[in-house]
């Protein structure tokens, strides 16, 4: 429970700061960044394994590692979106919301039965809807938040229905006891499908993805980064654990579902990303396509699947946050969000252009960035089932995704612009965050011991 207690402590500290005189935004932000970094470093020690509260909460080394990835993501967001965070009038509230959502995600990853899972999922979703609304004076922010909360509530309803059906079908809600009760009868499969639909909504799997683009576009970039990286990452962790451990007896059912949905997600994500003009919508659809790739790795049903998914999400944290970070800096300083206005960016802001290029190539899966290794391992894991038609479709999607990532690189480096984005003075803290992400993107692929470490964690 250590990570959860630490996060709760930080939330209370923020609460007390807010209730007392309050601090100026700059110093408060610095304090928060410091505290989050400390949390990340401490995340590697004092971890105990075992279970609490009956078996509602359990902890293993792998879960600790997954939580650390999420904390790292939260820390990077606090660095990268510093410009917007300094200007927002309700900074402590924003972080209280974000950390509450993070807390919910931690409980979700550690949950041991369906009730705990549902509670923590709600704790993880509701604050995010409030975060999405944080640009209080912009209409599209409220619109995005409205869409988020309504779709979220709907999917929670379906989830609850599925949970009650599972209880009816098997007589238990405990994850440990479920596998032995599952025998693949149609009633159980029906219940499972409802559960699957709830996960699919949170992960933006097609056809449950319709909320994604509008919410990403409307929310402030800090909320979007959180949603796209941390929320998706945590749900992916829970999803894979649910499929491999809890619903293993229904393996044949969910394998086919994963293959079909993965192809649909990749194709739709890629096709829609081709047409986007707004950088945030573009990154939203690119995230959807990335989820399609994650599903490829998930379909493998062996240790290689878990390892490659966790590894990929680590890399995805760095690449996606770098991309959103650059978009955030430009949007905050100049209000520009249209890809056409990114033309000629290299002439005026070479640093930002290189970071964005690195991030986009990592998302596309081009060496020497880490994204290459991540994607290749996902595909290799997925190919283990010898479903070669599937793999060929996946490989073809790599090409389509490269095309739209190249569009942006081309705009930045090759296209001419009469009025390019002016030279931006980047906040040193944000610069540090961007460099950190860039280093992560380049190095994580070559630090092969990280992959072995994750593999080793599965045994425990």
């Amino acid at each position: 429970m250590k990570s959860e207690l630490m996060i709760t402590l930080i939330i209370f500290i923020l609460l007390f700061i807010k209730l007392s005189k309050g601090m100026k935004n700059e110093s408060l932000l610095l304090l928060i960044q410091f505290v989050l970094l400390g949390n990340f470093i401490l995340g590697f020690s004092f971890n105990k394994e075992g279970s609490l509260f009956g078996d509602m909460f359990y902890n293993t080394e792998m879960i600790v590692f997954q939580k650390n990835i999420l904390i790292l993501g939260a820390y990077l967001i606090s660095l990268l979106c510093a410009d917007w965070l300094k200007k927002t009038p309700h900074l402590p509230e924003f972080f209280m919301l974000m950390l509450s959502a993070l807390l919910g995600m931690f409980f979700m990853i550690s949950s041991g039965n369906l009730l705990m899972f549902y509670l923590s999922l709600e704790l993880a979703s509701i604050p995010v809807a409030a975060m999405a609304n944080f640009d209080l004076d912009k209409k599209r922010s409220s619109e995005g938040a409205m869409k988020m909360i309504l779709s979220s509530a709907f999917s929670s309803g379906i989830l609850l229905f599925g949970i009650s059906l599972i209880y009816g079908a098997t007589g238990t809600i405990s994850f440990a006891a479920l596998p032995s009760q599952l025998d693949g009868s149609s009633f159980q499969v029906l219940a499972f499908i409802f559960l699957f639909a709830a996960f699919a909504f949170k992960l933006s799997i097609v056809p449950f993805h319709f909320w994604t683009a509008d919410v990403y576009e409307g929310s402030p970039v800090a909320a979007t980064s959180f949603l796209s990286v941390i929320s998706k990452g945590s749900i992916a962790f829970v999803f894979i654990s649910a499929l491999y451990n809890v619903f293993q007896p229904l393996h044949n059912v969910w394998y086919t579902m994963l293959v079909i949905l993965s192809i649909a997600t990749m194709v739709i994500g890629n096709l829609f990303a081709l047409r986007q003009q707004n950088i945030k919508r573009f990154l939203a659809f690119s995230s959807i396509a990335q989820v399609g790739f994650i599903l490829v790795g998930m379909s493998s049903n062996d240790n290689a699947g878990i390892t490659s998914v966790v590894y990929f999400i680590l890399i995805y944290v760095f690449s996606n946050l770098a991309a959103f970070g650059v978009a955030s800096v430009i949007a905050e300083k100049t209000g520009i969000e249209d890809i056409d206005d990114y033309k000629g960016l290299y002439k005026t802001n070479p640093f930002l252009s290189w970071i964005l290029t690195l991030a986009l190539f990592s998302l596309a899966g081009i060496p020497p960035t880490a994204g290459f290794f991540g994607k290749l391992f996902l595909i290799t894991a997925g190919a283990g089932k010898a479903n070669y038609g599937f793999i060929i479709v996946v490989a073809l999607n790599l090409i389509i995704s490269l095309y739209y990532y190249l569009r942006i690189v081309r705009a930045m480096f090759m296209d001419k612009n009469e009025q390019p984005v002016e030279k931006i003075n980047i906040n040193p803290v944000t610069k540090f965050g961007l460099i950190l992400c860039a280093v992560g993107v380049v190095l994580v692929g070559f630090l092969s011991w990280i992959y072995d470490y994750i593999q080793f964690l599965i045994k425990s």
């Binding site: 020497p368 290749l376 060929i392 490269l402």
Partner: protein, 491 residues
């Protein structure tokens, strides 16, 4: 002889170029780095010869094996045989010439040299990799630099060509990826090239995986009908970019075809050899005839490259030891020749600001050095004895003729006929450019500068070395190709 140096030196050169303060520093650093790599390539050649002469007949020399991702059985496995050494020498020659020819680039010089050296890093790594994953890694590393080089420093419809090139080559890589994964899973989870080649993979599997690999790599070598990226890609690229693309990048495909597809899947090669020969012959003839229609010098060379690279695929498809050796020789010879051709075209373009043959004439009067080199390169292209083109094509023909049946003989005859077509377009282009009346506006043009002379000289030395004393290249390549062909049970 530590093979890691071959990857390390370009990497250090690229980083040093990035850290340089001004343009002159960037240029000299890049030149020093690529020259050092050339020296290293020669050292590799001599060390290799020493080992072979000393009786060491292991297939791959200087092997090194480091575990990278044990969970996936991915190792950094490096090693060279005769074919790899020849390709590394070729790359080193072309890179030094490319660096020299680009001496006067003013726009974003630092980034240009950084991307160029990064590109060569990919090629060097590709030729010494013995692990399929690492091979694929180095193959893909070239995508970013190629795209940026053509898109930023190119000419004509550069963005379109850069896009087309990047996407088509990515398509080829995607097919190669599926093929590699197929090999990985059908062989009990191994990416190691040498161990894969010792396995007996069932024929049904080979029938599926071989076309994936061959077509995937074939896209890089302008296998018909996937050659459409070549004309636009080569013509829109900056000079050093075209030199590298045509000279080396197309050979990555040929090397992949022979090292990965043919070596590991011999039965697959036998099954598809007829199709390969047909496609190669189409490429040879189509490339030659299409070249006759071109009016732009760079397009002439691009289509001519399609035709000459057809010889490489023909040699591989014929499945005899001599033809195979000829295919590798053609890779080396064509690499040097086309690099020199593009270099000369670049020099002419820089002075006349046109690539249209009809707008040029009588350049011999003002640019004797450049036009003489132009003549020599043209003669090499049409296979004049004494130059490397003759040796390579002759070897391919002799090897192809060893197949006595009608189909192979006819294919050989068709390929020989293409030489006539080559002669027509080469002599016409060279003649029109070099001789005849000189335009008024061109009378003030200067001849080659020191860097251009050096670049041309380096490549010419290579061409003449192969053309006059082909023995050393043959002895280098032949044992390696014999090992590959023995697996097929070829003549």
């Amino acid at each position: 002889m530590n093979l890691l140096l071959i990857i390390l030196i370009p990497l250090l050169t690229a980083v040093a170029a990035l850290l340089s303060r001004n343009k002159q520093q960037v240029r000299w650093v890049s030149l020093a780095g690529s020259a050092a790599q050339l020296v290293l390539a020669f050292m590799l050649l001599f060390a290799f010869q020493n080992e072979r002469v000393g009786g060491n007949n292991i297939q791959m020399l200087f092997e090194q094996n480091y575990s990278l991702f044990p969970a996936w059985h991915i190792n950094i496995h490096l090693g060279v045989d005769g074919i790899s050494v020849a390709m590394i020498l070729l790359t080193a020659f072309v890179v030094v010439a490319g660096v020299l020819v680009s001496w006067n680039i003013e726009k974003m010089t630092k980034e240009f040299y950084f991307l160029l050296i990064l590109l060569t890093l990919g090629a060097y790594g590709f030729f010494i990799s013995l692990d399929l994953f690492i091979l694929f890694f180095f193959l893909e590393i070239a995508v970013i630099p190629k795209y940026l080089l053509i898109g930023i420093w190119g000419s004509g419809k550069k963005e379109y060509s850069a896009n087309k090139l990047a996407l088509m080559l990515m398509g080829g890589s995607a097919l190669v990826l599926v093929g590699i994964l197929g090999l990985y899973f059908s062989s009990g989870h191994s990416f190691d090239l040498l161990s894969l080649s010792k396995l007996n993979i069932p024929v049904e599997t080979q029938r599926i995986i071989f076309p994936l690999l061959f077509v995937g790599f074939g896209v890089f070598t302008a296998l018909f009908p996937f050659h459409t990226w070549v004309p636009d890609g080569h013509s829109s690229a900056p000079t050093a970019g075209s030199m590298f693309l045509a000279g080396i990048s197309m050979k990555l495909g040929g090397y992949g075809c022979l090292r990965v597809a043919t070596y590991i899947l011999p039965e697959g090669a036998k099954e598809y050899s007829t199709l390969i020969i047909v496609l190669a012959s189409i490429a040879i003839l189509y490339g030659a005839f299409a070249t006759m229609m071109q009016k732009d010098l760079k397009y002439i060379n691009a289509y001519s490259s399609i035709s000459h690279c057809g010889f490489v695929l023909l040699g591989i498809g014929m499945l005899t030891k001599t033809a195979f050796t000829g295919a590798v020789m053609q890779m080396v010879s064509h690499g040097l020749m086309t690099a020199l051709f593009f270099a000369v075209i670049g020099m002419i373009y820089e002075r006349t600001h046109t690539r249209q043959v009809s707008e040029m004439g009588g350049l011999m009067k003002v640019m004797p050095f450049i036009t003489t080199v132009f003549f020599i390169v043209g003669l090499c292209s049409l296979g004049l004895p004494g130059l490397s083109g003759f040796i390579a094509e002759m070897t391919v023909f002799m090897g192809s003729w060893e197949n006595t049946d009608m189909f192979h003989r006819i294919a050989t005859i068709i390929a020989c006929m293409s030489i006539v077509v080559t002669a027509v377009y080469i002599l016409r282009a060279v003649g029109q450019v070099a001789m005849g009346p000189l335009k008024e506006s061109f009378s003030g043009l200067t001849d080659a500068t020191w860097n251009e002379r050096m670049a041309a000289a380096i490549l010419l030395i290579g061409i003449l070395a192969i053309g006059i004393i082909p023995r050393w290249l043959n002895d280098l390549i032949r044992p390696a190709s014999e090992i590959i062909m023995n697996k097929i049970g070829a003549k």
